[in-house]
């Protein structure tokens, strides 16, 4: 038996080579799922960020910054229809070309095991956010059947947390029965479906990427109106 079984990187499949000092730095309990070159390509979000959406300020032009908010969040918060619903989003990594590819493989190609790569980082963050109800952003039934799993649920499960699947997507057919005006006005994408009381609860929404923020803000509004005390969100990428 090989005393150091060779692990293959879950992302690039190369053999994970121990480098000098590697065994000393990482204790045995940290599982090595990805190789160092791949880990280096994951860019952590660091430094000063937008108070709400976690966008790093050093990546945007100063004129798109409004105090401690980015321009987008400022616009959302200006709108009485939307202000105050999303307390804070936390994203772990920048959505760079590398991560784009990894996430695409994870959710579109259905490479479930990649959830484990992110779970290592998710676990730490979720511990900090506890206690809270952890709510994955849902997929439509058709999508779920196509992909075989919901990526947000996978992230939670692999991080060792229990997802509370209290949101469902409103079927687009049902939506299309409404009048056009109704649809635009309501813009409802989700509905809450739960026995548990949300009154006074802290909720953390889970998704893979935060892009425009519209998804989590829709969910946040709904949950807040259903009684939740505060809504945060956690995503892999931003």
């Amino acid at each position: 038996m090989n005393p150091f079984p060779q692990d293959h990187c879950l992302i690039c499949h190369e053999i994970i080579r121990p480098t000098i000092g590697w065994r000393a730095i990482f204790s045995i309990e940290t599982e090595h799922l990805i190789c160092q070159p791949c880990e280096r390509k994951l860019e952590r979000i660091e430094g000063e960020t937008c108070r709400i959406c976690c966008r790093p300020f050093h990546l945007i032009d100063e004129k798109f910054r409004k105090g401690d908010l980015c321009h987008d969040c400022f616009r959302w918060e200006e709108d009485v229809e939307w202000q105050g619903f999303l307390e804070k989003n936390t994203s772990l990594f920048l959505y760079n070309d590398f991560l784009k590819e990894v996430i695409a493989k994870f959710k579109f190609r259905g490479d479930y095991v990649l959830a484990k790569v992110f779970a290592q980082f998710f676990t730490k963050k979720l511990d900090q956010l506890a206690p809270a109800i952890l709510v994955p952003i849902p997929l439509s039934e058709v999508r779920l059947y196509e992909r075989g799993f919901n990526q947000a649920v996978a992230l939670l499960v692999e991080s060792g947390f229990v997802p509370s699947e209290i949101l469902t997507r409103i079927h687009s057919e049902k939506q299309s029965k409404k009048s056009r005006l109704e649809r635009i006005h309501l813009q409802q994408v989700f509905k809450v479906d739960t026995e548990i009381t949300l009154e006074g609860q802290r909720i953390v929404l889970i998704d893979d990427i935060y892009t425009t923020g519209s998804t989590v803000r829709h969910a946040a509004k709904l949950l807040k109106r259903a009684g939740a005390a505060s809504i945060q969100s956690l995503t892999i990428a931003r």
Partner: protein, 494 residues
């Protein structure tokens, strides 16, 4: 998907208690063909000789199921069990490292899936592979199949005849043709014979570049024949064609499809990859079919099989221009990596490069690893600032190759990525660190094969700078010299 078996027929069902994911059904019944059933011709075109996933088929499940119930479609398990071990039915993967599980929303169980062929659509324990069991589409042949007007060299002609025989008689044949022999032309007569006999034929190669290069040449030679050109993202995916040119990877979508498979550059990948390519080729050919292997550098096992008469083969030992292959010279250059740490390169290598720059002779210099190459680049740019370096992940790879063609780059440093495929008419070639294990016999023969390619410049210098001769270097030189000797013996050289 989950199924139940009712009256010897598989029926999709996700609700019934006794339903099972397809891989857990012991034996999948195949209903007999109902001759009066009006089958869908588009489905026939799409599925003949294929193994597709439901997602690949733009028809509703109930239509597919109805074809199955009438005997026209087959369902196979995506993942088979051999003893306790899983095998991916599509890519042949049986390495547990490439299998993972997930809680599956399709079948409601913990499903095993294959990561190896994931990019072609995920195969899990509940995935059926869908194929065709009905009559094959009819192809109408033009009066004149081949419009190719070229002529073959004596060496090509001999090989071409052997290929025709192998295709007619559904046999296997290895065509061992030196770099620059003109192997594509050797196939034309065989392809014509196959098409004339209404046989379905496929040329498979590991590299997309080659598919793109071969497609117009074959379309020009067989202008009235439908040609499907298949690579990742190509548009011919659903085209039924008597002649298919595909990357070996794309073969994974085929099942018992071809009467002839021509496998190009069988040696281009390391053994583990080769194994799965072999699997793909085996699945794609019909049980009774011809298999033509093309290579300039068969591996040791194959060379031995040729020598001992275990593998039928034919050689083209000479280039079409009837000049011998340049034989590599070995030049000892000491511990060059140590020198490089001090930002120096061996004097004999430097003067080799200077000579070429002064004489305006373009050259390729091969390095074993990227960091060594990148460390050498600034040193060599002191000789000529226009020297460039290229490697597999270089985004400007194509542009740089183009610039060498346009003679804007006098000397290009490269890793083994340029060892095959790319040809320049008039270059010299050097390898620095030929002792490195990355330079196998086959890699070195390919590298040497870059020189002296054109009729106008049939000579070229090939120099292996080394810090200790290796067996691989010796074997490579021996192979090249043996080919030259055979060329003389068979009267193929001037």
């Amino acid at each position: 998907m989950r199924f139940i078996i009712k009256d010897e027929i598989l029926i999709p069902s996700n609700t019934l208690d006794d339903s099972l994911p397809i891989s857990q059904i012991p034996a999948i019944p195949q209903p007999p063909i109902q001759p009066n059933y009006l089958y869908n011709r588009e489905l026939q075109q799409l599925l003949t000789g294929k193994q597709l996933l439901l997602d690949d088929i733009p028809f509703p499940l109930n239509e597919i199921q109805s074809h199955y119930e009438n005997g026209y479609i087959t369902y196979r398990k995506g993942i088979n069990q051999s003893g306790k071990k899983p095998i991916c039915a599509r890519c042949g993967n049986k390495n547990l490292q490439w299998f993972e599980t997930y809680p599956c929303s399709c079948c409601g169980e913990t499903c095993l899936y294959c990561r190896k062929c994931l990019m072609m659509g995920r195969i899990s324990g509940c995935t059926p592979l869908i194929g065709w069991n009905g009559p094959v589409p009819d192809t109408i042949l033009p009066a004149k199949i081949s419009q190719w007007k070229g002529t073959l060299s004596k060496g090509q002609m001999e090989a071409s005849n052997r290929v025709v025989d192998a295709i007619r008689e559904n046999r296997e044949l290895l065509v061992w043709a030196v770099c620059g022999a003109g192997k594509t032309e050797v196939l034309f007569a065989g392809i014509e014979a196959a098409l004339a006999a209404k046989k379905r034929i496929c040329i498979a190669t590991p590299r997309t570049d080659v598919v793109l290069e071969l497609t117009p040449r074959l379309k020009a030679a067989f202008p009235e024949i439908t040609v499907a050109s298949l690579y990742g993202g190509s548009e011919d995916r659903h085209l039924f064609a008597p002649l298919t040119i595909a990357t070996t990877h794309q073969l994974l979508r085929f099942y018992h499809a071809f009467d002839t498979v021509i496998l190009d550059e069988v040696d281009a990948f390391p053994f583990t990859v080769e194994e799965s390519l072999q699997h793909a080729a085996l699945q794609a050919r019909k049980p009774s079919s011809a298999m033509i292997y093309l290579t300039a550098t068969p591996n040791e096992k194959w060379q031995r099989e040729c020598r001992t008469g275990k593998r039928p083969f034919t050689t083209i030992p000479a280039r079409f221009h009837r000049h011998p292959l340049p034989v590599p010279e070995f030049v000892w250059c000491g511990n060059w990596q140590k020198q490089l740490q001090k930002d120096k390169l061996p004097a004999n290598l430097l003067s080799w490069i200077k000579e070429r720059i002064l004489a305006n002779k373009q050259a390729l210099v091969f390095f074993p690893h990227i960091p060594l190459m990148e460390k050498s680049l600034p040193i060599l740019r002191l000789i000529a600032p226009t020297i460039e370096a290229v490697h597999a992940e270089d985004p400007e790879r194509k542009e740089k190759v183009q610039k060498v063609r346009a003679e804007e780059i006098p000397l290009l440093l490269t890793t083994t990525i340029l060892e095959r495929g790319v040809t320049f008419p008039n270059i010299d070639v050097a390898v620095i660190g030929a002792e490195d294990s990355i330079f196998t016999e086959s890699a070195l023969v390919q590298i040497a094969g870059r020189a002296g390619r054109s009729k106008d410049h049939p000579d070229g210098v090939v120099t292996f700078f080394h810090y200790g001769k290796t067996d691989e270097m010796l074997k490579a030189r021996r192979q090249i010299m043996a080919m030259n000797r055979e060329g003389i013996k068979r009267g193929l050289l001037d």
